[in-house]
Symmetry: C2
């Protein structure tokens, strides 16, 4: 469950990396700014901020007025929604290079989900007003944003598809495959990026279902789990088991 | 299951409505062209085509080279993907005013899903090359497309959420609520827009699960089903039952 929301978000300033040059570098790596006008790019580099957040920080709640959109430098952030009864649905869990909060510009300036830092994270905060203004002026920025949203849409489609076609062990297998480097050979050691309870929520499973499904995946594919480390004896056995119930074949084209 | 794909798609020309004036009117109603430059709008009006398709027509398969994107004038179209084993996942079912196929411009010119007409449909075909070209030149067009994709993304998020938080009868209840006019009072008679097998697939259920869940929904909310007609005694009982396990309250903001 997310921690209580507070207006005074605890941040850890990073003097060394918060320079203009760092911003230029970090923004330059994001697909959002590829080939945009220098004036657009400079405005963002001047007005963005870098902040470091501890695990457990709630950045904003659903329907909060949006001041910023966020670019992840490192760490993990969970996007989620809550029902009135307090049940939580995880929309996605994002890491380095990915952006969130930007669709608030099409939602009357309000965030369509809540966001919580689930592993200590460094984020670049971009003023949402600047984004709303520039996206109407710099066509390349709008085009890049369309490209990013289109890719995200395809992933959401896949997610819906998997909830229909894949069983629970296959969905966990797919999650693990996405952590493997494509083309890796032999035994692979993976580090789970965040805790198992969140992995279960991210995959739309109850914790008990997740445990049972993980047990079955071990039997079917020979993977071993030691704490937050997973040993995959071969990608072939894991992809053979998981990807048979998917409309794409391994390796996926739409990996982050 | 979709019918076999054929390169010669059977179309029924509609001379009366295929005029330039009709195209201007139809495109004008689409949010995609709101406030775009007159030159953009005219290019689409000149180059679009109107076609009528019979139920069962497969318009294109996943990974087909994209020539057109489609605006639905009337009827229903199913977007779906298939696994190698022949299992099918329904991505969405769309009707009047909605567009599909347009994200092919971000997918190397290939459709990311297949499309089949599931109730006789009149479609407006817009050249995908023209869209790819104009979206880079007319910023308003790019902005409108972003708006449409953002709304679609929110709906996909909701879909994923419902598969986690709502049980099967609640998901059917939500589907029916979306067919009701918001604010309608007293008893409501609904016509199911397409057959029950497709409704089940659209909701990610096996036909048997759908039948059992519909039975339970009848008991819980007093709805009656006669063929393709559904009688809802009151919106309150249906929304009270379905929307308690959702992060939005009735009526939804994101209805088509």
């Amino acid at each position: 469950m997310p921690t209580t929301h507070s207006n005074t978000i605890p941040t850890i300033p990073e003097a060394s990396s918060g320079s203009h040059d760092f911003f230029v570098q970090a923004l330059g790596r994001s697909g959002l700014f590829a080939n945009t006008q220098p004036s657009t790019f400079n405005r963002f580099a001047e007005q963005c901020q870098q902040r470091r957040y501890a695990k457990g920080t709630v950045l904003f709640l659903q329907e909060d007025e949006a001041d910023w959109c966020y670019l992840i430098i490192n760490g993990w952030v969970k996007l989620y929604r809550e029902t009135l009864d307090g049940d939580e649905a995880v929309v996605d869990a994002l890491t380095s290079g990915l952006m969130f909060g930007e669709t608030a510009i099409f939602e009357n300036g309000k965030y369509p989900y809540a966001a919580e830092v689930v592993e200590d994270a460094t984020l670049l905060l971009l003023p949402i007003r600047l984004l709303a203004e520039q996206v109407k002026q710099d066509n390349q920025l709008a085009f890049n944003m369309l490209k990013i949203m289109s890719r995200f849409q395809r992933q959401q489609d896949k997610e819906i598809e998997h909830r229909t076609l894949q069983n629970a062990p296959q969905r966990i297998g797919c999650f693990l495959l996405r952590l493997c480097r494509a083309g890796a050979e032999g035994e692979i050691r993976l580090h789970l990026p965040y805790d198992k309870t969140l992995i279960a929520s991210r995959l739309g499973m109850q914790p008990e279902t997740f445990s049972r499904a993980l047990g079955r995946l071990k039997n079917e594919t020979g993977i071993k789990v030691q704490g937050s480390t997973v040993i995959v004896p071969s990608i072939e056995s894991l992809s053979g088991y998981s990807c048979s119930a998917c409309t794409s074949s391994y390796p996926c084209q739409d990996l982050y």
